[in-house]
Symmetry: D2
């Protein structure tokens, strides 16, 4: 008989604060953050994670906690996990670590999540100029499905995934990051600091001073927010330090492409069951540097076979002309913004407030595409929404239906206790 | 018995030049270009189209024609087609025209296409800094499949679609376009002029002077290059002039999201079978202006049910750090560029030249996604390639395979006469 | 430049009777029916076909023609086509012929079809005890879609395929067929004879006497009525005579699993574009005899990538207890009958007559599954119906809807001229 | 805040025997088996289940336990669960209970299963004439994936589902069952008796004497073995007794259509998370009796949205001619047997023993279809296998590959400890 089941290598305790966990979490990338666990190639191991806010954003039906969220602390990652092969030899810089996500989900007993927007002055979001105030929706999970009292008439199967998964950077790579981001990162984010647990020693002071934030995705993977990195997918991560030092966190029950509201997936606590391989020398063999140093690489991944199947999509176009009518040259970000705004307006005609739709499009399994990127001067982006997520609202397609059959409003702050989909 | 089959409203003759066609084509948008045909709501009608280059790019195995392509003439559109209802009342400004694409394909007897890049000085493309020279691949169609002697080892089912479909702008909208594009459009494109057929009269001189180029997608639809606008899909176009004046062209046997090489789909001649409805007052009821005037709208569409089904995808990430290592702030265009470059490098390890892969990713059914657009400072874009397009090359997934089993090179200009996939 | 497009090897003229076609058709299987055309491996060739009834069932809105259909003549096949390799060497007995269906569709200008039931005394059908009278529905095609004035509220994309595709049997195999079928085939079918064209000569008398009917599928493929043998699929057929002698016919715009009404797909004229390979010695290498001789084999095939995508299915179960309450032992045919009857009753609650639903389930892309075949004494079969085929009728799923919103009746014979879906 | 998560209404303890469980299990259908739990409409509740053999078939690498399996005891069901509405009013006979499967899976800590065949004399299976001896394969789960040391080179995502789900029959329905099955059920199965726990009292003697076996599916649902009844699906069950008395069991990690080897899915312990609705009077409104009494109905269900996505299928045909060459008249069971035998032979050419393939086709997500059921005298059935389940073996499609690259044999009894897929 073979062993089976997964070995829990990083547990979390949701009753404790992020800095009270038995195995310390971390919210910065740095080569000297020591591994808290080890996993061997071929074994199935389990990693548990707290939610992106570390418990700061709660189940209360108010957006006050989102309004005052401390963005300097978000993304308490589980790990680092040192990856070694069957003979105990660790992954080396230049190797690839192939990480297969065999299973994942919410933590048992904690089957809920939230989607929020931040205040414009405290992090904002993709459409913060249109939605400057903090709002929040709570989602409850019924197995594969999620529903929200704040956005009634909607229920959908999530494509659950970790927002953050990555390896530790080498010092050289970290220096590249810190160098190039110095000028563009906004002040509010630059001033973020390591969380409490890492204080005290000289070493931690050094790490806190040098380490990179977990907000963006980078060469090591990181906060890529790729919504299809779900069950059965496999990501090939470059190794920059001995042991690879794999970290993960920021679990999403579901997310739309772009995660437009920023705190924008259905954020939750959760677990991953992973299986790793080491591909010796794989970084050189399979990846190609896209910049001045051999470190300028990006991960590759394969999508798993069990995503929800949707057959009917309603698609909104956007071009790179902004809301003031100004032309931007082949700018896919502007085009996508326009597509999202169009979708929000259309769906709001069916009885939702725009705040509700903004939250919804940030977290439902909608697809954001770069359709045309060469037809000067307009980039064309599209946002495709699977109509099956609306379980009571007749939002297209096939018939253009009269948008008057469903009415609900929610400004992101009002308590709503009735769950309209509970009886469906 | 009911009538059946489609009525041919715009025929083309591939033996004639664009300006010799019986029903004049047009390559500009202008409200005063007169309709050449009429279609009634509910009837199935057929529109034929010449290829994007108007026959200038030929089946010859050389990129010389792509190199010297006259971009001022591309997109000879078929139409305008005036849309009227069952009682003969035309579509009015403020209505929506719902256009269903019931069928489409190459023109019988002309089952081939091409994918090309332009010279950097003559139009360029998304990666023109990396691929500054004109290249070309010829594709032959075997029913739903396409293969190219220039890119052996690849054969795939296309998601065929029109690159351009749109309604005529009103004078007010045209003025908005001309105003906002004045500063950002490059000189080479701005100097484009109407093609020969439209010369001579005072009216045509006026139109030629005022009309907008067909290169970008805009409020009227236009060259959106949405690769999923295929069989069974339905697009809701705003109406700006009486009769809607629907035009279409630039047929693509297949295209990748972004159409990165610019002349970048599998360009071909072709036909559409369309069915229209008029939604009276629909523009106000279903679309929302996203700018300073009520004209700042964008079309909505629904995807059809018969796209090729792919189950295994290899995905490349890109972040908004450019090839020089410079940081861009949440720039999805830069992130997508990086993802495409990564994919090109990876696939070129399997025996292809980078020119071959650039052409391939521009025209195969790959998906370009905006994965993260809020995680400052990096946008994260992904390019997903269905591995089934490789019929002989072991490009992932599931095993990281040794990239040494397949060798071929093609610099975009060399004649290759053998069709390696013909015997498969 | 390479040649492209397909070579027409078997044309048909729909204005002529089956026995007046330039290349003779045939409606029996016999090794001595001479090839009418030849195709070379690797080339794309086109075969045209008349409809299953040979024009006897017409577009008239009456079931009189179905009532008096001459089943002795159905399935006028196009071919045989002799298959040779690049050096002109024909396929040999013991080889496999791999036939790829690159494209197919209705014949241009003949975009309509019919679904019918026969009288119980003249062929019947799967549920002839419940539906003993001839009925008929006419379908009109709008590109990928079909709709019927007789079954309003329904419109769907077909999975178009040839009902019959097969190779000629050897004399030895033909003798096996004639022997084993002698006792089980009903009288009415046994008395069938070759059609007119084959009369006159001694040789034809011999063939007419010996040849097998095209009704059933057999070792050579034949009338397998596999609804997924559509665009992009590839069937591996055993070769029993020199040249393989490939024949095909009985085109279906769409069919449900089982083709329950017998004349039960959307029958139409049509064309195939095929590409063949010869796998030398493949019959022995890849197939295994399942009976007393090496000839007892069955074809293998691969499904193509462009079938319509449906996401929501309503599924009806059936067990092997018949309508009288009698138990049958693990009988999948009885179980499937029960599942189909259940589906007919359910859908008829939404305003349809049972005759309409019987015709619909015979021709729409529904799936018939053998779910349990071992749980004595009940086989369990299921019929799954994609709910998207109903474009106006709220037939499930997700909400159990009140079945009172839609009313229409049709007894299979009444002229109905209005097309309710034309305006959608 | 709303409550969330599921309420455990039926726990099981895998360390205990079936008859030692805290809440008694049952392996017969009878109206008087008392409910062990209650669930309210709209609430999410959790049911745990032991495996079909009740622990008799173990993880040992020998088929001895399968050989001596006591079929009189299989299917220890969890329940009955009494279903009541929000006001405490139970489901009544004539209602429908809509049961949504929100989630399911193996029991934590017990992530393994088995597929077995029984001896011909002890239950047999669909192909018992060809495979008369007991065999067994053990499967280990890695999240969504399963692999078996006994069938190397295979790894796939399961479509997990309960084999048995049903409501209690009324006495009238039970009498119908017992009457009609008396003559056809084999002796060995007829002699089965209730398991130990139910012994002792007069009432239990009566129940044991009258109750129906759980082996077949029937009007109440039951052992339908519908492999698509997975996450997100919803089954509408008729109610025959007050409270509906819902029971479920026989969890399958994965099963092929037909479950051909009889003990044939990947059998495992597991859990369901369910949500019920009561549709008052729904039995009469939505179901139609298909026999002499109003009780002759069958359930309806809807398939969920998260089944594994496969794009490439290899399909084997079978016709209703048996292995001796004898013709059967439109017999779908014979046709399916032939299709399965053909598939076994084909795949065994790639290095597997036939016993291995028989087990594999019984439990992998293959599809069994009734393709033609009217083309006398041959029914045509097909078996479609997703080629992606083979992770190392080049079993089709697209190229007919030489079947010599992979060698392994397993007679169903030999211990094999190496897991060839562990390193993939």
């Amino acid at each position: 008989m073979a062993p089976y089941g997964s070995r829990l290598v990083v547990p979390v305790d949701l009753k404790k604060k992020p800095w009270e966990q038995e195995l310390p979490l971390h919210n910065r990338w740095h080569p000297e953050i020591p591994p808290v666990a080890e996993a061997t190639t071929g074994e199935l191991f389990r990693v548990e994670m707290i939610d992106a806010s570390g418990g700061a954003i709660t189940q209360n039906y108010t957006a006050e906690d989102a309004k005052h969220a401390d963005l300097s602390a978000v993304h308490h990652l589980s790990g680092p996990i040192r990856i070694v092969d069957n003979e105990g030899i660790p992954a080396h810089p230049g190797d690839l670590v192939a990480v297969e996500i065999c299973n994942l989900g919410p933590l048992p007993g904690d089957e809920w999540g939230y989607t929020a927007t931040f205040d414009r002055e405290n992090g904002g979001g993709f459409l913060t100029d249109h939605f400057p105030h903090a709002t929040k929706a709570i989602w409850y999970f019924e197995g594969i499905y999620a529903y929200s009292p704040q956005i009634p008439g909607v229920r959908f199967a999530g494509i659950t995934h970790p927002g953050v998964i990555g390896t530790a950077p080498s010092m050289e790579l970290l220096n590249i990051w810190n160098g190039r981001e110095r000028d563009v990162v906004e002040n509010g984010i630059q001033s973020l600091k390591l969380c409490e647990i890492e204080k005290g020693t000289d070493k931690w002071e050094k790490i806190a001073r040098e380490a990179a934030r977990t907000i963006p995705g980078r060469e090591n993977g990181g906060n890529c927010d790729i919504k299809n990195l779900s069950r059965g997918s496999k990501v090939y991560l470059p190794v920059f330090v001995e042991g690879a030092n794999l970290s993960t966190g920021d679990m999403h029950f579901s997310q739309g492409d772009g995660e437009v509201s920023f705190c924008g997936a259905i954020e939750m606590s959760g677990f991953l069951e992973l299986k790793c391989d080491i591909i010796r020398g794989g970084m050189k063999e399979y990846l190609t540097p896209m910049g001045p140093t051999p470190l300028h690489v990006n991960p590759i991944f394969e999508i798993g076979p069990v995503e929800p199947r949707f057959s009917e999509w309603l698609v909104f176009e956007g071009i790179s002309v902004d809301e003031s009518g100004k032309q931007h040259y082949l700018d896919a970000s502007v085009a996508y913004k326009r597509a999202v705004l169009n979708a929000i307006d259309y769906i709001s005609k069916f009885g939702y407030s725009k705040e509700q739709v903004y939250l919804l499009l940030s977290c439902c399994p909608c697809e954001g595409r770069i359709s045309g990127i060469v037809d000067a001067p307009n980039a064309c982006a599209t946002l495709a929404i699977p109509t099956a997520i609306f379980d009571q609202v007749p939002v297209g397609p096939r018939l253009v239906r009269k948008p008057d059959v469903f009415k609900c409003t929610y400004d992101g702050n009002l308590p709503i206790t009735k769950n309209p989909s509970a009886s469906s």
